[in-house]
Structure formats: C-alpha cells, structure tokens
Symmetry: C2
C-alpha cells in the first residue's frame, strides 16, 4: 500500500466516522450535513418503500389493502418518533377491477393486453363485440358525427412522447378522462385507448376515466402500446378488425379511505406547519412503488432526518399520506387532498409552505419556489445547499404544486416543487411493472437530500412565504 | 448548396441507382453484392416478420393459429417464386393454456404475475393453496428429503445472468424441465419457478416442463422476476407466505402440427440441398416475433435474395418452417425437426449443410463452420465477405446446430451457426412482450446479410463439408 492509498483509506475512515455533527450549528451548516447524510443513504426512505410495497403490495383506494397500509403507516410513524399520529377516515365509492379480457376476434383470434379504465362499468357476461373504429387523436373522435359510432368500439391511437417534466402526459390525459363519454355520445358500445405511456413494453397502463353521472359511460380499456400498433397494422393491411371486451368490474358504494397525518413538532413556533405530502393509495396492478410509495418514502425519510438533527427546527414538519388520489371524481369519490383541506380549514393560515412528492424516484433537477422566494435570502441559501445535488432554480413557477396539495394552494398556502426527471416515469406508471426494483436507491437518496435541504431551511427559519409572494405580486406589472 | 454537398448528393443518387448488378459475376462478387443489398434492407425479411406476427399473432404448436400460419406461409412462399412448396402434417397432443391466477393469500393478499409451464396440468376448480418453500437453487430442491414438501408449494428462486451466447439459459433450464417432477417426488402439490429470464420486468416467461408419463407432474408456473423477489423479501421479513394457484389448462390429444418446406432449385446440382431452418410455432402469450418469426424472416429473406441473384446458384436452397419446436416431449409430442429428419431420411445424404435461425434478431457476431471448413478456401472467402458485417470466425464449434437441425446433425449432416448477440434475448423470450417492435430492422438486415453471404457461397460451390470434416477428424489426435 503506497502513501496515497494509505491517505485515501484514512480519509474514507474519517468520512465514515463523520456522522457525528459538526460544531457549526448554523441553519445552513445543519442543512448541508442533513443533505450529505441523506445522500449517503442514512435515511429510512429505502426501508419504507421496500416494506410498504412488500408487506402490503397494491393499495387501491377504498380497499382493505389501503386501510392496512394506513394502519401500518401509523404504527411505523409512531415507532419512528413522530407525534400526533392520526388516521382521518372518509367515505367513498370504490371501484374494483374484476376479471377482464380483450381479444381480437377477426380477422384471426388474438389476445390483447388491456386494463379496464378506473370507474369503467362491467360488460354483460357474454362480453361486447364490435368492429373497431380507429382515431389518430381524441380531437378526431370528437369530430365524428353523432350516431357514426353506433354499435362500434372507438379507439384512440395517439402515442405520447417522453418528456422530462411529464408534460406529455398532461396533453394526452383528456383522451382517457373524457374518451368514454365522447365515444358513447356518438353511439359507441366500448372505448379503447392506447395507454398513456412511453417505453413500448407490453403493459397496459391503468388510470381513471371521468364519471358521467355515477359511472363511466361505457366499458373502457387502456391497451398496451404494442397492441395498439398491432391493431393499426391490421387495419393498414386492409382488414376489418373486430374485438370482444369482457370485464366484471364492480362498484362498492360504502367504502372508506383515509389520510394519515404525523408531525415532528417545532421548537419555537410549533403552530407553524410545513406540510409534506404523498399518496398512500396506488393502482391495483403493480405494487405502487414509483406511484407513490417512493413519495411516501421521500417525505418520511426527510422528516425523520430533520428530527435527528442536533437541534429541533423552529417550525413543525408534518407528513400527510393521502388516501384516494388516483381515482377521485367530482361528486362521490373525494380526493384525499380535498378532504384534508376541508377538515383542516381552521389551521390553513398556519400552513407556511406545502409540497408533494408524486412523480416516482427520478432525480430532482430543479426547484420551483413560491413567487418571490427564489430571490430572497432563503432562496439564495437554498440554491447554495442544493448545488452539489445538481439541482438548479427552475424558471417555471410551481403552479398548483400537485394534485393533493392543490386544494391547499387554492386556499392560499404557498407551494413548492422539487422537479424530478420523468423521462422513464411513464414506462412504468400505472402498470403491473410498478415494483420496487424500478427504484434506484441512489436516486431515492438524492431526492431525500433535496427535500431535507429545503424543508430544514424553511422549518428552521421565520421566512413568511405569503409575504414574499405578496411583495412579488405588488412588484409585478399590474394585470389588465 | 456548396460543392461538397452537391458531390455527396450525386453520390447518394448513384448509390441508390446501384441496385443493378456489377459485371463481375464471380461467386464472391455476387456474395458481396447480395450482402450489401440485404444490409440496405432490400430483402423481404421485414415484411415477413411484420405480416406473420400481425396477421396471425401467437401460434402455439398444434393450434388452428399454427395451421393458419403454415397456410399463409405456403401461399407467401409460392407468391415469392419458391418451388416445390408443401405442408407436411403430423399428429401431436397439444397443450392449451386456460385462465390462470396465482396469488399470495398470506400475510396479505397480492396478485402474482405468472404463466403455467407448458404441459402443466390444471388445478382443481377451487385452486391449490399451500405454504411456499423457497430453494435458492434447483440442486437445493433435489437435496430436500422425501416427504419434506408434503402439502407445500416448492419454488426455485435462482436468477439467471445475461450472456451473449445464451449459455445462462442452458445452465438454468433443468429447473424448468425437471422441477415439477422433483418437487412432486418430495410431496409438493405445486411448483413455482423464477422465470428463466433477464431484464427484471414484470413478465412471466413461459416454457415447457418435462412430462412425467403423459403430463407434467403437478401444476407448475413461471413467475416474473419481481414477483420472485417479492416473495423472497416477504420471507426475509419473517413471514410465512401462502399462495393459491389456479389454472384451467387442458390437453388436446388429436391435434396436428406441420412443417412447411420450399425450395429455390439449384442450376447445376439441384439434388444437393442447403437447408435453412426456423420454427413457425410460438408461445401463446406474445406474437412470437423474436421467437421465431425473426428466424422465419431471416431464412426467407436470404433464400429470396439468392433467387434474385444474376444467376442461379449451383445447389438447391431449401427453407423449412418447422412446427412444434417449443413443446416437444419424448413420446407423443414430436419435434418438427425430428419429423423432418424421419420423413426425409432417404434424402439426408444429399443435404450438404444445414443451419437454423432461432435466437431472435440480435446482430450476428461470429460464425461457426463444420469442422475443417474454416481453414478451407471456402472459409477464407467467407471470412472476407463477412468482415464488413463485424462477423468473425468463432472458436467454438457449432455443436448440434440448434434444436430443429439437431436431428439432421445426428444423421451426419454438417451444420453451421451464425451466432447472434443474445444479451437482451431473455428479457423478451417467451413473454407477452415478444412483439414486432422488439426487432431492430437494421439488426434484422445484418442477419440476412450474414446468412446470404454464407448460403450463397456454399450454394454456388462444390464444397464437400462432409469430406472436409472427415479430413479434419483424421488430422486430429486420436480420441482415447
């Protein structure tokens, strides 16, 4: 062993021993140390995502499994030292996938990989059979004449691009939500959609369709990308393609979902709350690892690391594991995030800042702070702490902050986004393939590091994000 | 447009026009031109693989779909100008997958992605339920005491490495073929196998188990890699894992399979045959694109290109589309390749050389010629023609040449291999994900180019591979 490798060995040893806290107890020094601990994997994030997806598996909204996940979560949060741990239940109608089968019956029989869209009604026991009519886009379907699809199965074949920020999904979403209603309006007896997906593997990507009254209009399915291409090729060969659709899906009107809430209480301003959200429910096909056990793991890993800091932060850090994110409908299927904002209306003014982790475990590449915050001393410090993680300030504002914290934002709570790389997210999203192995432990640690940096700095400060926002709003040119 | 880009444009134009044949009609010049045509995609290979997998889809041995594929093939081969096109049928027992479901029942209910192994008997209608016993390797299962698995479900969890030459699959195969018998012998009521697979996606990889008498011993399933890891993690958490297995698989004793045979007749020695094989049957989950419509496309593209050469080759080029490759069993489920060698026994001495394409559409990286041929003038010329394709002589002899030409090799027919890169093959092999999109058209063209080079040179020669082999054998040190 030469001198240089000896030196490196000693350095490695001292790094390993460096888990003790440094003498500098400034807020930024602690943020940097928390960040580095997170990056070294010294958080509970991996254990949380592994145990939740392994013990419970799929957690459809309103199911016994979602309830079991909530109970497991409450127990785990208590064991980790969280305070004020509670489960807040709410009623919902749940939708249960049955057995389902989609097949080409002509020109020659072939099975199709499909998943009924969430909320889709069952077919008659004998199934539905009809000729398929292909539409390149949802707009083309909407341009079809009334009655032109009578007795037919309508299908939208539009492919979706991979985009880092997930915007491809945003554009494609209407075809899933509104497709069944628009197809039924023109006489269709069934509706098929090329999965809102990237990657080209033969998985159907589930997802909710919008209710038309108390249910989805007609039996509707997402089919895999290769199956969509197969049907398109058959049509190009000049064949009339007929399909048979079978589903025994059902509704459970008296089901229950729940939010799980837990706090790390602040030392000086415990009534001021930073809210960290993720959702506990998942689609039923996979084990909901990237969607959204990863988010549960990231926010829990963050809050627990902050609780382990050499001193408590001034403000309270709250985690909320939302129920019923995937399936909510206007009416009788509430969103966990709406329930939280309704039940906690009285405290909303004390919610300083809220953020949500619900885009898998891809690395964070940028941060979007509430208006006015990026240029403040808080934003400058945060930029410095995030820099080693390859995270930069975003030029795009945080918008609503996510589906579950959106209702808080509507009530005036400032929100932030830690933007994650989503280039691969829709390869896996809502499929049977959403399992633990798809999470890169190093990327998960980088997420916890970014969250810990931001949340510690905000929790250990007196920054008033509402005031910064108002000042920035006042400084902006007046709106016409 | 500057002069250089003008020059390039003219060059591109003249290249495009260069499909006409050069004045040099030497065998090597024609081989090189055929190779380049193939590489430019000027073969029927893509059309074949696209239309076969699209029109017919899955083609399980003994099914109506396999028959339809054979009829489509005969029609296509006639239309392409092949001569002596015939379908040679043979009886078999076929196995039909029913509906199937594997689920964890304890500690908490979860679905498992599984596929019954080929030949696996149905379960009782209520299914089979039992505790799972995990074995890290098949040898560990075989070391279990008689009776030690009574009432249990045995499961082998061994992962498989990706290897370029597919040798990882060879090592792993016994656990699929022999696993059900060995588990049943120790009292097990069901058998599960971590799929013989790479890539880690949540697909079950089908495949045949060996008959024990006239059926597989007990209901047996391959489960996806993530599901195997899930069950292993549950066990590591200290849980007793219980599973329920359901399958309505059935046997059809009076089914029929068939081989399809077609020739490009040689000009000078039409009775001397070069045999190019691939199999027409596929597993039932996917559309059998890489396994083995790709092989059908490669050999047909090769033979058709040779038929388009400026002169006919001296010898006959024969394609054989074998039936019943995936499922054969000693006894009542014959291998198409064995049927061919039995039915054509009288002609075997005129079979100069045989080769099989049954490893997807990954690029060819090396060639294994019959003993004695590599060092001959034929081998030297072939090496020169293959060099631009990045194909080198292999140091490994061709062995049996493949499952369908193996029986010919046993009867003394010299065989060759064009070895394909299989690093990704077992990501897809025997899954629902084996669809057209997994084939890279450029790699398919490179395969046709390599096959066309070899087959043209051999067909347009008088090389006696048997004599070369005998001479090489004589020159070798005597075996003890």
């Amino acid at each position: 062993m030469n001198r240089i490798s000896l030196f490196l060995s000693f350095s490695a040893l001292s790094l390993a021993a460096a888990s003790a806290w440094s003498a500098d107890t400034s807020s930024e020094a602690i943020a940097s140390e928390l960040r580095d601990k997170a990056l070294r994997g010294e958080s509970v994030a991996w254990d949380i995502v592994s145990e939740l997806t392994t013990r419970i598996g799929p957690r459809p909204a309103g199911s016994a499994a979602e309830r079991a996940a909530a109970e497991w979560s409450a127990k785990k949060l208590k064991a980790l030292g969280f305070e004020n741990v509670r489960i807040e239940s709410f009623p919902m109608t749940s939708w249960v996938r049955g057995t389902e089968r989609v097949e080409i019956t002509a020109p020659s029989p072939q099975p199709i990989v499909a998943a009924a869209l969430g909320g889709s009604p069952p077919t008659p026991a004998a199934g539905i059979e009809g000729e398929v009519v292909l539409f390149a886009t949802f707009d083309d379907l909407k341009a079809a004449a009334p009655g032109s699809l009578t007795g037919k199965i309508a299908m939208v074949t539009r492919p979706m691009p991979a985009t880092q920020d997930g915007s491809g999904y945003g554009v494609a979403g209407a075809a899933r939500r509104e497709g069944p209603t628009e197809a039924a309006r023109r006489g269709a007896i069934g509706y098929l959609l090329r999965s809102l997906a990237t990657g080209g593997e033969r998985f159907a990507h589930a997802g909710a369709a919008r209710y038309d009254g108390a249910r989805v209009a007609i039996p509707s399915f997402a089919i895999s990308e290769p199956d969509s291409q197969q049907i398109e090729r058959l049509a190009r060969l000049g064949e009339k393609v007929r399909l048979r659709l079978n589903s025994t899906a059902s509704y459970v009107p008296n089901a229950t979902s729940q939010n799980v809430i837990a706090d790390i209480r602040g030392s000086e301003r415990p009534d001021e709350v930073l809210l960290l959200g993720a959702h506990l429910d998942s689609w039923d096909l996979g084990t909901g690892a990237i969607d959204d056990a990863a988010g549960i793991a990231i926010i829990t890993g963050t809050a627990k690391l902050i609780a382990q800091a050499p001193r408590k932060p001034k403000r309270t850090v709250r985690v909320v594991f939302y129920g019923s994110e995937e399936v909510s409908q206007p009416g009788d299927i509430p969103l966990g995030g709406i329930v939280y904002s309704r039940e906690h209306k009285a405290e909303i003014s004390t919610h300083i800042l809220a953020g949500e982790s619900d885009f898998g475990a891809g690395r964070v590449y940028s941060v979007s702070l509430p208006e006015g915050a990026q240029a403040s001393p808080f934003g400058v410090t945060l930029t410095r702490v995030l820099a080693p993680l390859a995270v930069v300030p975003s030029r795009v504002p945080p918008g609503e902050g996510g589906s579950d914290v959106g209702p808080l934002e509507e009530l005036g709570v400032p929100v932030f986004l830690l933007n994650q790389d989503g280039m691969k997210y829709f390869d896996i999203h809502h499929t049977a393939n959403d399992t633990l192995e798809k999470i890169d432990p190093a990327a998960l640690s980088q997420n916890v590091a970014a969250w810990t940096s931001l949340i510690w700095l905000a929790a250990d400060s007196e920054v008033d994000f509402r005031a910064l926002r108002s000042a920035a709003g006042n400084a902006s040119p007046a709106k016409p």
